[in-house]
Symmetry: C2
Subunit: 66 residues, 2 copies
Amino acid sequence: MENKVKVARVSYDLTQQELAERVGVTRQTISLIEKGRYNPTLKLCLEICYAVNKTLDEVFWQERKE
Amino acid sequence: MENKVKVARVSYDLTQQELAERVGVTRQTISLIEKGRYNPTLKLCLEICYAVNKTLDEVFWQERKE
DNA sequence: GCATTATGTAACTTATATGTTACATTGATA
DNA sequence: TATCAATGTAACATATAAGTTACATAATGC
């Protein structure tokens, strides 16, 4: 699950810990999502978007790969 | 978890069963997502978007509610 | 009426997202 | 060099997304 969470987070000058607190998960969860090792739930994706002022498409969209 | 899956699906003239087969889940999962009783994973959201030719924002975006 | 299709949902199981605790590594900085 | 902050990750526990089976209802067509 590749995504732009890390870019969005860093552009907001937030640490993983800070982002985690704002969206209500642990630092480990943010780390795993940024590393593409987790398939986050929609609710968490939305919380991350709200925290970095971006939309789902901007942070999580990816074209279908055959 | 409100969303526009049902509208998008019906506009494509797909039954829950057909959409479920295209995205690789069961009919029950589609039903529960449409009813807002499930918090789907990002991967499933993307699959649904691909199936109905829409983006995440079009089908799953919602403004933060305080 | 009787079948058939589409949908809602309940009980139970399985897979996995997420939490908890803990330890290691890297980079900056005093 | 020695902290310390930020990050990666591993083992295990918990919550819940998703599957399986099954049954019910509404709508449609025979």
